[in-house]
Protein backbone atom coordinates (compact mmCIF):
# COMPACT_ATOMS: atom_id res chain seq x y z
CA UNK A 1 0.00 0.00 0.00
CA UNK A 2 2.64 2.45 1.13
CA UNK A 3 5.05 1.89 -1.75
CA UNK A 4 2.10 1.95 -4.08
CA UNK A 5 1.30 5.43 -2.79
CA UNK A 6 4.84 6.53 -3.51
CA UNK A 7 4.67 5.15 -7.02
CA UNK A 8 1.49 7.09 -7.71
CA UNK A 9 3.08 10.24 -6.26
CA UNK A 10 5.98 9.79 -8.62
CA UNK A 11 3.64 9.22 -11.53
CA UNK A 12 1.71 12.38 -10.90
CA UNK A 13 4.84 14.49 -10.47
CA UNK A 14 6.40 13.07 -13.61
CA UNK A 15 3.15 13.60 -15.50
CA UNK A 16 3.18 17.28 -14.57
CA UNK A 17 6.83 17.74 -15.52
CA UNK A 18 6.40 15.93 -18.82
CA UNK A 19 3.33 18.00 -19.63
CA UNK A 20 5.22 21.18 -18.86
CA UNK A 21 8.28 20.09 -20.86
CA UNK A 22 6.14 19.08 -23.84
CA UNK A 23 4.35 22.40 -23.77
CA UNK A 24 7.62 24.31 -23.50
CA UNK A 25 9.72 22.45 -26.05
CA UNK A 26 7.01 20.99 -28.27
CA UNK A 27 5.30 24.31 -28.87
CA UNK A 28 8.50 26.33 -28.55
CA UNK A 29 7.17 28.27 -25.59
CA UNK A 30 10.32 28.23 -23.47
CA UNK A 31 10.47 32.02 -23.52
CA UNK A 32 6.95 32.35 -22.13
CA UNK A 33 6.63 29.43 -19.75
CA UNK A 34 10.27 28.46 -19.22
CA UNK A 35 10.86 24.71 -18.87
CA UNK A 36 11.61 22.17 -16.15
CA UNK A 37 15.25 21.88 -17.16
CA UNK A 38 15.81 25.64 -17.19
CA UNK A 39 14.22 26.06 -13.77
CA UNK A 40 16.13 23.10 -12.38
CA UNK A 41 19.45 24.43 -13.65
CA UNK A 42 18.76 27.88 -12.27
CA UNK A 43 17.66 26.40 -8.96
CA UNK A 44 20.91 24.46 -8.63
CA UNK A 45 22.88 27.58 -9.47
CA UNK A 46 20.96 29.61 -6.90
CA UNK A 47 21.41 26.98 -4.21
CA UNK A 48 25.15 26.75 -4.88
CA UNK A 49 25.64 30.51 -4.87
CA UNK A 50 24.17 30.75 -1.38
CA UNK A 51 22.40 34.03 -2.20
CA UNK A 52 19.11 32.55 -1.13
CA UNK A 53 20.11 32.16 2.51
CA UNK A 54 19.81 35.87 3.31
CA UNK A 55 16.43 36.25 1.66
CA UNK A 56 15.05 33.07 3.16
CA UNK A 57 16.25 34.10 6.60
CA UNK A 58 14.68 37.56 6.26
CA UNK A 59 11.36 36.11 5.18
CA UNK A 60 11.36 33.50 7.92
CA UNK A 61 12.16 36.09 10.56
CA UNK A 62 9.24 38.26 9.42
CA UNK A 63 6.92 35.26 9.29
CA UNK A 64 7.81 34.42 12.88
CA UNK A 65 7.28 38.00 14.09
CA UNK A 66 3.88 38.08 12.41
CA UNK A 67 2.98 34.69 13.76
CA UNK A 68 3.86 35.58 17.33
CA UNK A 69 1.72 38.72 17.15
CA UNK A 70 -1.12 36.71 15.57
CA UNK A 71 -0.95 34.09 18.29
CA UNK A 72 -1.13 36.62 21.09
CA UNK A 73 -4.01 38.67 19.68
CA UNK A 74 -5.89 35.67 18.30
CA UNK A 75 -5.72 33.63 21.51
CA UNK A 76 -6.61 36.46 23.86
CA UNK A 77 -9.59 37.63 21.80
CA UNK A 78 -10.77 34.06 21.25
CA UNK A 79 -10.75 33.27 24.96
CA UNK A 80 -12.44 36.55 25.83
CA UNK A 81 -15.15 36.04 23.21
CA UNK A 82 -15.68 32.44 24.21
CA UNK A 83 -16.11 33.26 27.89
CA UNK A 84 -18.14 36.44 27.72
CA UNK A 85 -21.40 36.91 25.83
CA UNK A 86 -20.89 40.64 25.91
CA UNK A 87 -17.55 40.59 24.14
CA UNK A 88 -18.78 37.92 21.76
CA UNK A 89 -21.46 40.30 20.55
CA UNK A 90 -19.26 43.37 20.63
CA UNK A 91 -16.47 41.84 18.55
CA UNK A 92 -18.32 39.49 16.21
CA UNK A 93 -18.75 42.10 13.47
CA UNK A 94 -15.04 42.85 13.42
CA UNK A 95 -14.21 39.17 13.06
CA UNK A 96 -16.63 38.87 10.12
CA UNK A 97 -15.05 41.85 8.37
CA UNK A 98 -11.56 40.69 9.28
CA UNK A 99 -12.19 37.27 7.74
CA UNK A 100 -13.29 38.90 4.49
CA UNK A 101 -10.68 41.66 4.35
CA UNK A 102 -8.48 41.47 1.25
CA UNK A 103 -4.87 40.87 2.22
CA UNK A 104 -3.63 43.56 -0.11
CA UNK A 105 -5.34 46.21 2.03
CA UNK A 106 -3.49 45.07 5.11
CA UNK A 107 -0.19 45.00 3.25
CA UNK A 108 -0.63 48.47 1.77
CA UNK A 109 -1.86 50.19 4.91
CA UNK A 110 0.90 48.59 6.95
CA UNK A 111 3.37 49.79 4.35
CA UNK A 112 2.01 53.34 4.55
CA UNK A 113 2.40 53.43 8.28
CA UNK A 114 5.59 51.54 8.87
CA UNK A 115 7.50 51.82 5.60
CA UNK A 116 10.43 49.59 4.80
CA UNK A 117 10.74 47.85 8.15
CA UNK A 118 10.04 44.43 9.59
CA UNK A 119 7.01 45.92 11.32
CA UNK A 120 5.17 46.18 7.99
CA UNK A 121 4.96 42.44 7.20
CA UNK A 122 4.45 41.68 10.87
CA UNK A 123 1.41 43.93 11.22
CA UNK A 124 -0.02 42.98 7.81
CA UNK A 125 0.24 39.26 8.53
CA UNK A 126 -1.22 39.56 12.00
CA UNK A 127 -4.10 41.74 10.81
CA UNK A 128 -5.19 39.16 8.26
CA UNK A 129 -4.37 36.01 10.23
CA UNK A 130 -5.62 36.71 13.75
CA UNK A 131 -9.37 36.58 12.97
CA UNK A 132 -8.97 32.96 11.85
CA UNK A 133 -7.27 31.98 15.08
CA UNK A 134 -9.75 33.95 17.16
CA UNK A 135 -12.61 32.18 15.44
CA UNK A 136 -11.14 28.75 16.16
CA UNK A 137 -10.27 29.43 19.77
CA UNK A 138 -13.63 31.03 20.36
CA UNK A 139 -15.48 28.02 18.94
CA UNK A 140 -13.23 25.70 20.91
CA UNK A 141 -14.01 27.46 24.17
CA UNK A 142 -17.74 27.54 23.36
CA UNK A 143 -17.86 23.85 22.56
CA UNK A 144 -16.16 22.57 25.67
CA UNK A 145 -18.05 19.44 26.49
CA UNK A 146 -20.22 20.29 29.45
CA UNK A 147 -21.04 16.64 30.06
CA UNK A 148 -17.39 16.08 30.81
CA UNK A 149 -17.41 19.05 33.20
CA UNK A 150 -20.46 17.62 34.94
CA UNK A 151 -18.80 14.24 35.12
CA UNK A 152 -15.77 15.92 36.69
CA UNK A 153 -17.81 17.61 39.37
CA UNK A 154 -19.73 14.38 40.02
CA UNK A 155 -16.39 12.75 40.81
CA UNK A 156 -15.31 15.71 42.93
CA UNK A 157 -12.46 16.58 40.61
CA UNK A 158 -10.95 19.87 41.73
CA UNK A 159 -11.57 22.97 39.65
CA UNK A 160 -7.94 23.33 38.69
CA UNK A 161 -7.65 19.75 37.64
CA UNK A 162 -10.83 19.98 35.58
CA UNK A 163 -9.55 23.10 33.84
CA UNK A 164 -6.27 21.43 33.04
CA UNK A 165 -7.60 18.03 32.06
CA UNK A 166 -10.87 18.98 30.36
CA UNK A 167 -10.95 22.59 29.21
CA UNK A 168 -7.32 22.95 28.27
CA UNK A 169 -7.22 19.55 26.59
CA UNK A 170 -10.31 20.21 24.53
CA UNK A 171 -9.40 23.72 23.44
CA UNK A 172 -5.78 22.88 22.65
CA UNK A 173 -6.46 20.99 19.41
CA UNK A 174 -8.68 23.80 18.16
CA UNK A 175 -6.00 26.24 19.08
CA UNK A 176 -3.35 24.26 17.29
CA UNK A 177 -5.47 23.83 14.18
CA UNK A 178 -6.16 27.57 14.16
CA UNK A 179 -2.50 28.34 14.77
CA UNK A 180 -1.41 26.14 11.90
CA UNK A 181 -3.94 27.71 9.65
CA UNK A 182 -2.89 31.20 10.60
CA UNK A 183 0.75 30.26 10.19
CA UNK A 184 0.00 29.44 6.55
CA UNK A 185 -1.70 32.80 6.20
CA UNK A 186 1.27 34.53 7.82
CA UNK A 187 3.81 33.34 5.30
CA UNK A 188 1.53 34.13 2.39
CA UNK A 189 0.89 37.68 3.60
CA UNK A 190 4.53 38.17 4.51
CA UNK A 191 5.58 37.50 0.92
CA UNK A 192 2.89 39.91 -0.24
CA UNK A 193 4.04 42.62 2.15
CA UNK A 194 7.64 42.09 1.02
CA UNK A 195 6.52 42.71 -2.51
CA UNK A 196 4.87 45.98 -1.51
CA UNK A 197 7.52 47.30 0.83
CA UNK A 198 10.82 45.51 1.41
CA UNK A 199 14.29 45.34 -0.06
CA UNK A 200 14.89 41.69 0.70
CA UNK A 201 12.99 38.45 1.15
CA UNK A 202 11.27 35.96 -1.10
CA UNK A 203 8.39 38.27 -2.03
CA UNK A 204 10.84 41.00 -2.96
CA UNK A 205 12.90 38.58 -5.08
CA UNK A 206 9.85 37.30 -6.94
CA UNK A 207 8.93 40.89 -7.78
CA UNK A 208 12.52 41.65 -8.76
CA UNK A 209 12.62 38.68 -11.18
CA UNK A 210 9.24 39.70 -12.48
CA UNK A 211 10.50 43.18 -13.34
CA UNK A 212 13.48 41.60 -15.09
CA UNK A 213 10.77 39.74 -17.07
CA UNK A 214 12.49 36.49 -16.12
CA UNK A 215 9.90 33.75 -15.78
CA UNK A 216 12.65 31.28 -14.98
CA UNK A 217 13.72 33.49 -12.11
CA UNK A 218 10.17 33.81 -10.77
CA UNK A 219 9.68 30.05 -10.93
CA UNK A 220 13.03 29.30 -9.34
CA UNK A 221 12.28 31.39 -6.27
CA UNK A 222 8.75 30.01 -6.13
CA UNK A 223 9.97 26.41 -6.21
CA UNK A 224 12.55 27.11 -3.53
CA UNK A 225 10.03 28.75 -1.25
CA UNK A 226 7.41 26.05 -1.85
CA UNK A 227 9.90 23.35 -0.91
CA UNK A 228 10.74 25.08 2.36
CA UNK A 229 7.06 25.59 3.19
CA UNK A 230 6.19 21.97 2.42
CA UNK A 231 9.01 20.88 4.70
CA UNK A 232 7.84 23.11 7.55
CA UNK A 233 4.20 22.10 7.12
CA UNK A 234 4.53 18.38 6.65
CA UNK A 235 7.95 17.66 8.06
CA UNK A 236 7.48 19.64 11.27
CA UNK A 237 3.99 20.92 12.04
CA UNK A 238 2.02 17.89 10.93
CA UNK A 239 4.37 15.58 12.82
CA UNK A 240 3.86 17.61 16.00
CA UNK A 241 0.11 17.54 15.52
CA UNK A 242 0.17 13.78 15.00
CA UNK A 243 2.16 13.16 18.15
CA UNK A 244 0.35 15.56 20.44
CA UNK A 245 -3.18 14.91 19.26
CA UNK A 246 -2.94 11.20 18.54
CA UNK A 247 -6.42 10.69 19.96
CA UNK A 248 -7.95 12.96 17.36
CA UNK A 249 -8.74 12.11 13.79
CA UNK A 250 -6.04 13.80 11.80
CA UNK A 251 -6.59 15.65 8.56
CA UNK A 252 -4.61 14.49 5.60
CA UNK A 253 -4.08 17.86 4.05
CA UNK A 254 -3.07 20.53 6.49
CA UNK A 255 -2.23 23.88 5.00
CA UNK A 256 -5.40 25.67 4.19
CA UNK A 257 -4.44 29.22 5.14
CA UNK A 258 -6.37 31.41 2.73
CA UNK A 259 -4.33 33.90 0.79
Amino acid sequence: MYTNGKVIFLESTVALLVFWALLAHGLALTDTISSPTLVFASLVELLLSGDWVVHMADTMRRVIYGFVLTTIIGTVLGVVMGMSDFWENALQDYITIGLALPSLFAAIFAAMWFGLSDVTPMVAAAAIAFPFLTQNVYEGVKNVNYELMEMSSAFDVSRNRAIRRVIFQSVLPEWFAGARYSFAICWKITTLAELVAASSGIGYMIEFQMHKLSITGVLTWTVLFTMVILFVEYGILQQIEKRVFAWRQSTEIGIMGGA
Partner: protein, 268 residues
Protein backbone atom coordinates in the same frame (compact mmCIF):
# COMPACT_ATOMS: atom_id res chain seq x y z
CA UNK B 1 -31.19 21.20 20.43
CA UNK B 2 -28.51 23.73 21.19
CA UNK B 3 -30.10 26.10 18.71
CA UNK B 4 -33.38 26.04 20.53
CA UNK B 5 -31.77 26.90 23.86
CA UNK B 6 -29.88 29.76 22.34
CA UNK B 7 -32.89 31.18 20.55
CA UNK B 8 -34.85 31.13 23.75
CA UNK B 9 -32.08 32.87 25.64
CA UNK B 10 -31.53 35.36 22.88
CA UNK B 11 -35.21 36.17 22.82
CA UNK B 12 -34.95 37.48 26.35
CA UNK B 13 -31.53 39.04 26.12
CA UNK B 14 -31.92 40.73 22.79
CA UNK B 15 -31.49 44.23 24.19
CA UNK B 16 -28.21 43.43 25.91
CA UNK B 17 -26.71 41.74 22.84
CA UNK B 18 -27.69 44.76 20.80
CA UNK B 19 -26.09 47.07 23.34
CA UNK B 20 -22.93 45.00 23.09
CA UNK B 21 -22.89 45.29 19.32
CA UNK B 22 -23.48 49.01 19.40
CA UNK B 23 -20.83 49.33 22.07
CA UNK B 24 -18.44 47.41 19.82
CA UNK B 25 -19.12 49.71 16.88
CA UNK B 26 -18.77 52.84 19.02
CA UNK B 27 -15.46 51.66 20.46
CA UNK B 28 -14.25 50.98 16.92
CA UNK B 29 -15.25 54.47 15.80
CA UNK B 30 -13.69 56.05 18.86
CA UNK B 31 -10.45 54.19 18.22
CA UNK B 32 -10.49 55.38 14.63
CA UNK B 33 -11.05 59.01 15.72
CA UNK B 34 -8.29 58.74 18.26
CA UNK B 35 -5.84 57.35 15.72
CA UNK B 36 -6.91 60.02 13.25
CA UNK B 37 -6.27 62.71 15.84
CA UNK B 38 -2.84 61.35 16.75
CA UNK B 39 -1.52 60.45 13.31
CA UNK B 40 -1.00 62.94 10.52
CA UNK B 41 -4.21 63.34 8.59
CA UNK B 42 -3.04 61.80 5.35
CA UNK B 43 -2.05 58.57 7.11
CA UNK B 44 -5.27 58.23 9.04
CA UNK B 45 -8.16 60.43 7.90
CA UNK B 46 -11.29 60.88 10.05
CA UNK B 47 -14.27 58.59 9.29
CA UNK B 48 -16.42 61.33 7.76
CA UNK B 49 -13.60 62.62 5.62
CA UNK B 50 -13.05 59.10 4.28
CA UNK B 51 -16.72 58.63 3.50
CA UNK B 52 -16.70 61.98 1.71
CA UNK B 53 -13.75 60.94 -0.41
CA UNK B 54 -15.40 57.59 -1.15
CA UNK B 55 -18.55 59.40 -2.21
CA UNK B 56 -16.46 61.59 -4.47
CA UNK B 57 -15.08 58.48 -6.19
CA UNK B 58 -18.58 57.14 -6.70
CA UNK B 59 -19.92 60.43 -8.02
CA UNK B 60 -17.11 60.95 -10.51
CA UNK B 61 -17.65 57.42 -11.85
CA UNK B 62 -14.06 56.32 -11.23
CA UNK B 63 -15.26 53.93 -8.56
CA UNK B 64 -17.61 52.08 -10.92
CA UNK B 65 -14.93 51.52 -13.51
CA UNK B 66 -12.43 49.98 -11.12
CA UNK B 67 -14.90 48.15 -8.89
CA UNK B 68 -16.53 46.80 -12.02
CA UNK B 69 -13.20 45.58 -13.42
CA UNK B 70 -12.36 43.82 -10.15
CA UNK B 71 -15.81 42.26 -9.89
CA UNK B 72 -15.64 41.03 -13.46
CA UNK B 73 -12.24 39.37 -12.89
CA UNK B 74 -13.39 37.94 -9.57
CA UNK B 75 -16.40 36.42 -11.27
CA UNK B 76 -14.31 34.69 -13.93
CA UNK B 77 -11.60 33.64 -11.52
CA UNK B 78 -14.24 32.21 -9.24
CA UNK B 79 -16.06 30.37 -12.02
CA UNK B 80 -12.80 28.97 -13.37
CA UNK B 81 -11.62 27.77 -9.99
CA UNK B 82 -15.02 26.22 -9.24
CA UNK B 83 -14.84 24.25 -12.49
CA UNK B 84 -11.26 23.08 -12.06
CA UNK B 85 -11.62 22.49 -8.31
CA UNK B 86 -14.88 20.56 -8.67
CA UNK B 87 -13.48 18.39 -11.45
CA UNK B 88 -10.39 17.49 -9.43
CA UNK B 89 -12.38 17.07 -6.21
CA UNK B 90 -14.82 14.67 -7.85
CA UNK B 91 -11.96 12.69 -9.39
CA UNK B 92 -10.31 12.49 -5.97
CA UNK B 93 -13.52 11.18 -4.46
CA UNK B 94 -14.10 8.55 -7.12
CA UNK B 95 -11.26 6.14 -6.44
CA UNK B 96 -8.07 5.61 -4.55
CA UNK B 97 -5.76 5.92 -7.49
CA UNK B 98 -7.00 9.28 -8.65
CA UNK B 99 -7.08 10.55 -5.06
CA UNK B 100 -3.40 9.81 -4.69
CA UNK B 101 -2.61 11.07 -8.13
CA UNK B 102 -4.14 14.48 -7.52
CA UNK B 103 -3.20 14.92 -3.87
CA UNK B 104 0.30 16.28 -4.69
CA UNK B 105 -1.19 18.89 -7.01
CA UNK B 106 -3.53 20.05 -4.31
CA UNK B 107 -0.89 20.06 -1.60
CA UNK B 108 1.66 21.89 -3.72
CA UNK B 109 -1.04 24.22 -4.99
CA UNK B 110 -1.90 25.20 -1.43
CA UNK B 111 1.67 26.15 -0.69
CA UNK B 112 2.39 28.41 -3.68
CA UNK B 113 1.86 32.06 -2.72
CA UNK B 114 -0.57 34.08 -4.79
CA UNK B 115 2.06 36.63 -5.75
CA UNK B 116 4.08 33.89 -7.46
CA UNK B 117 1.12 32.92 -9.64
CA UNK B 118 0.34 36.58 -10.26
CA UNK B 119 3.89 37.17 -11.48
CA UNK B 120 3.84 34.03 -13.63
CA UNK B 121 0.49 34.72 -15.28
CA UNK B 122 1.41 38.34 -15.92
CA UNK B 123 4.60 37.29 -17.68
CA UNK B 124 2.68 34.72 -19.72
CA UNK B 125 -0.55 36.55 -20.53
CA UNK B 126 0.37 40.21 -20.16
CA UNK B 127 -2.32 42.75 -19.30
CA UNK B 128 -5.24 40.62 -20.43
CA UNK B 129 -8.18 39.23 -18.50
CA UNK B 130 -6.32 35.92 -18.35
CA UNK B 131 -3.59 37.41 -16.11
CA UNK B 132 -5.57 37.98 -12.92
CA UNK B 133 -8.08 35.25 -13.74
CA UNK B 134 -5.35 32.66 -14.29
CA UNK B 135 -3.64 33.58 -11.03
CA UNK B 136 -6.95 33.36 -9.19
CA UNK B 137 -7.86 29.98 -10.63
CA UNK B 138 -4.46 28.49 -9.87
CA UNK B 139 -4.43 29.80 -6.29
CA UNK B 140 -8.04 28.99 -5.46
CA UNK B 141 -8.78 25.61 -7.03
CA UNK B 142 -7.02 23.49 -4.36
CA UNK B 143 -9.29 24.85 -1.63
CA UNK B 144 -12.37 23.97 -3.65
CA UNK B 145 -11.01 20.57 -4.65
CA UNK B 146 -10.53 19.62 -1.01
CA UNK B 147 -14.07 20.57 -0.08
CA UNK B 148 -15.61 18.80 -3.05
CA UNK B 149 -13.54 15.72 -2.33
CA UNK B 150 -14.76 15.64 1.28
CA UNK B 151 -18.30 16.06 -0.03
CA UNK B 152 -18.00 13.10 -2.38
CA UNK B 153 -16.49 11.00 0.40
CA UNK B 154 -19.36 11.88 2.70
CA UNK B 155 -22.00 10.23 0.51
CA UNK B 156 -23.30 7.17 2.30
CA UNK B 157 -22.84 3.89 0.50
CA UNK B 158 -25.96 2.51 2.16
CA UNK B 159 -28.09 5.11 0.44
CA UNK B 160 -26.46 4.41 -2.91
CA UNK B 161 -27.20 0.70 -2.44
CA UNK B 162 -30.76 1.49 -1.46
CA UNK B 163 -31.20 3.53 -4.63
CA UNK B 164 -29.81 0.71 -6.74
CA UNK B 165 -32.16 -1.77 -5.06
CA UNK B 166 -35.08 0.44 -6.11
CA UNK B 167 -33.70 0.75 -9.66
CA UNK B 168 -33.15 4.50 -9.46
CA UNK B 169 -31.38 5.89 -12.55
CA UNK B 170 -28.14 7.81 -12.31
CA UNK B 171 -29.50 11.28 -13.10
CA UNK B 172 -32.12 10.95 -10.37
CA UNK B 173 -29.55 9.63 -7.92
CA UNK B 174 -27.36 12.61 -8.74
CA UNK B 175 -30.16 15.10 -8.20
CA UNK B 176 -31.75 13.54 -5.15
CA UNK B 177 -28.89 11.84 -3.34
CA UNK B 178 -25.40 12.84 -4.45
CA UNK B 179 -25.85 16.59 -4.75
CA UNK B 180 -27.93 17.11 -1.58
CA UNK B 181 -25.56 15.04 0.47
CA UNK B 182 -22.49 16.83 -0.84
CA UNK B 183 -24.21 20.23 -0.72
CA UNK B 184 -22.84 21.49 2.60
CA UNK B 185 -19.31 20.71 1.42
CA UNK B 186 -19.92 22.14 -2.01
CA UNK B 187 -21.27 25.22 -0.36
CA UNK B 188 -18.33 25.67 1.93
CA UNK B 189 -16.07 25.21 -1.10
CA UNK B 190 -18.11 27.82 -2.89
CA UNK B 191 -17.86 30.21 0.03
CA UNK B 192 -14.21 29.70 0.54
CA UNK B 193 -13.61 30.00 -3.19
CA UNK B 194 -15.44 33.30 -3.38
CA UNK B 195 -13.68 34.74 -0.34
CA UNK B 196 -10.28 33.81 -1.70
CA UNK B 197 -11.05 34.94 -5.25
CA UNK B 198 -11.56 38.55 -4.08
CA UNK B 199 -8.27 38.51 -2.30
CA UNK B 200 -6.28 37.02 -5.13
CA UNK B 201 -7.76 39.21 -7.82
CA UNK B 202 -6.77 42.35 -5.92
CA UNK B 203 -3.28 40.95 -5.43
CA UNK B 204 -2.95 39.99 -9.10
CA UNK B 205 -4.07 43.46 -10.14
CA UNK B 206 -0.87 44.85 -8.66
CA UNK B 207 1.01 43.63 -11.68
CA UNK B 208 -1.41 42.17 -14.11
CA UNK B 209 -3.77 45.02 -14.84
CA UNK B 210 -4.13 48.74 -15.35
CA UNK B 211 -7.51 48.93 -13.70
CA UNK B 212 -9.23 47.48 -10.66
CA UNK B 213 -9.21 48.09 -6.95
CA UNK B 214 -5.86 46.35 -6.43
CA UNK B 215 -4.26 48.46 -9.13
CA UNK B 216 -5.78 51.67 -7.73
CA UNK B 217 -4.71 50.86 -4.21
CA UNK B 218 -1.13 50.19 -5.26
CA UNK B 219 -1.13 53.38 -7.29
CA UNK B 220 -2.41 55.54 -4.43
CA UNK B 221 0.28 53.99 -2.24
CA UNK B 222 3.03 54.77 -4.71
CA UNK B 223 1.76 58.33 -5.17
CA UNK B 224 1.44 58.80 -1.39
CA UNK B 225 -2.31 59.53 -1.69
CA UNK B 226 -3.10 57.72 1.50
CA UNK B 227 -6.51 59.28 2.10
CA UNK B 228 -7.66 58.02 -1.28
CA UNK B 229 -6.42 54.55 -0.36
CA UNK B 230 -8.72 54.63 2.64
CA UNK B 231 -11.64 55.67 0.47
CA UNK B 232 -11.02 52.72 -1.89
CA UNK B 233 -10.75 50.34 1.02
CA UNK B 234 -14.06 51.49 2.47
CA UNK B 235 -15.81 51.19 -0.89
CA UNK B 236 -14.50 47.72 -1.49
CA UNK B 237 -15.45 46.50 1.96
CA UNK B 238 -18.98 47.79 1.37
CA UNK B 239 -19.15 45.81 -1.88
CA UNK B 240 -17.91 42.66 -0.13
CA UNK B 241 -20.44 43.06 2.65
CA UNK B 242 -23.23 43.54 0.12
CA UNK B 243 -22.28 40.33 -1.66
CA UNK B 244 -21.96 38.53 1.67
CA UNK B 245 -25.29 39.57 3.17
CA UNK B 246 -27.28 40.01 -0.01
CA UNK B 247 -26.22 36.89 -1.83
CA UNK B 248 -24.12 34.36 0.05
CA UNK B 249 -26.04 34.34 3.33
CA UNK B 250 -29.48 33.86 1.69
CA UNK B 251 -28.03 31.06 -0.42
CA UNK B 252 -26.56 29.47 2.68
CA UNK B 253 -29.96 29.54 4.32
CA UNK B 254 -31.48 27.72 1.36
CA UNK B 255 -28.76 25.09 1.24
CA UNK B 256 -29.19 24.23 4.91
CA UNK B 257 -32.96 24.53 4.92
CA UNK B 258 -33.76 20.92 5.68
CA UNK B 259 -31.45 20.93 8.68
CA UNK B 260 -32.95 24.11 10.03
CA UNK B 261 -36.47 22.74 9.67
CA UNK B 262 -35.39 19.69 11.56
CA UNK B 263 -33.85 21.85 14.30
CA UNK B 264 -36.87 24.05 14.69
CA UNK B 265 -39.15 21.06 14.96
CA UNK B 266 -37.20 19.91 18.00
CA UNK B 267 -38.51 22.98 19.79
CA UNK B 268 -42.08 21.73 19.72
Amino acid sequence: MATSDKTAIRGIRLPSSLTARIFGILVGLAAWMLLAAVFPNNLMPFPLETLGLAWGLVESGVAWRHLGATLWRTLWGFVGSMILGTAIGVLMGVNNYSRRFFTPYVVIGLSIPAIAWAAVTTLIFGFTLMGPVGATVLTTFPYIAINVWKGVESIENDLVDMSKAFDITRPRMLARLIIPSAAPFLFSGFRFGLAISWKIVTIAEIFAASSGVGYKLMQTYQLYQFETAWAWAILFIIVILIVEYGFVKPLERRVFEYRRDADFALLG
